[in-house]
Symmetry: C3
Subunit: 160 residues, 3 copies
């Protein structure tokens, strides 16, 4: 019988599909912690689509940056959040449920497809975690983001 | 002796006063869950002032959309969040306390009455839940919202 | 042997350094609670850099308001949140860990140093609480804030 792939294997597949590595230390941009746990809840700091030292998707969505690029950015943010969860929890198989994702999009004045940007993150979360990767979500359009990132995502998850 | 109305009855009264129905399935705009529970906490996704398939209050507050319209929008967002809580918890009488409400307002460059927009939501929460409907709150002015909504609101609540 | 200063004493030192008092009732701008507790978690409402009845740092960061002024504003926001925590918990020595801080910055179109603004808040939290004051953090640039504030900060903390 074929074995069911672990979520960590699914994560590695998703990273390969995106063409990026999320191994090793993930650079953060200020004086804070990447993850903090309380009871079975784990908070993950706001993630921009950074790979190594480069923010891969920058600029204002709907004015120079496309929806498709923003969705790619949201996927990278989600992968970073999952990589941090994996480090903190030992394995993504220890995640019971992602509870909340907030997706901030640096957008043009009239760009309203913010949920569609958020769907990029949702696709990653569900591909890796299955039903545990279907959280509540809030998507909003903001005026700027750190490092001129097009997307920023933060998360609260519950561990098993 | 007059009986004390249940919170569900107060919710129905508030819906009638607003002139909208929040029965049945509430349409959402993307790939996520409306509510997720962990322990006694329940997270509710960002709600725009949608009734059926129509977002009732759209546009930029302070530039075409008025404070009063935005407050009406915030009330509808709050009613949607309560409707989802009611579905998830069986009855609003099972809500111990609303813990956090975040109110995002699509606003003009110089529109600063963001707390006043949030007060629209607070009025609904308190009218239906009493002291349990007085949460912590954050109100901010953003650049755009899904579907050109004027207001978006998300929530964390504790169940009894 | 020199005694280790309590966190409440460190808070008072930080207030003196900033040149502001955070004693007494802290004015809030709407119909909500400053703090709400659930289990060992405590939510703190969005704080603007208000001292008494005056918002000390206003305007758009990067367009009239400087990064340094915004950092000062973020410090005041953080002090207000700590003052509320102290009131709610009896003493800051009862805080186990700050879990999440979200920093909203009213910024210019091209102002990307949002994490640097957030670092102002982080410095206060760490100076007063030590490692317990190193939370997860999300910093975003928004279009407006209540009372034309340059910064707003909300928080979730765990009590011992």
């Amino acid at each position: 019988m074929p074995s069911i792939p672990s979520r960590d294997a699914l994560f590695d597949q998703a990273a390969a599909t995106l063409g990026h590595s999320f191994d090793g230390e993930l650079v953060i941009g200020g004086k804070y912690a990447s993850c903090v746990r309380n009871g079975n809840e784990i908070y993950v700091s706001g993630q921009v689509p950074r790979v190594g030292n480069t923010v891969k998707v920058t600029g204002r969505v709907g004015a120079g940056t496309t929806l498709e690029q923003a969705q790619e950015g949201a996927k990278i943010c989600a992968m970073r959040a999952l990589a941090l969860l994996r480090q903190a929890a030992g394995s993504l198989d220890n995640v019971k449920q992602v509870l909340r994702v907030t997706v901030y999009v640096q957008c043009a004045e009239d760009f309203t497809q913010l949920s569609e940007v958020g769907d990029g993150a949702s696709e990653i979360l569900q591909a890796v975690l299955g039903a545990a990767g279907v959280p509540t979500r809030t998507s909003v359009g903001v005026y700027q983001l750190p490092k001129n990132a097009s997307v920023e995502l933060d998360m609260i998850a519950a561990l098993a």
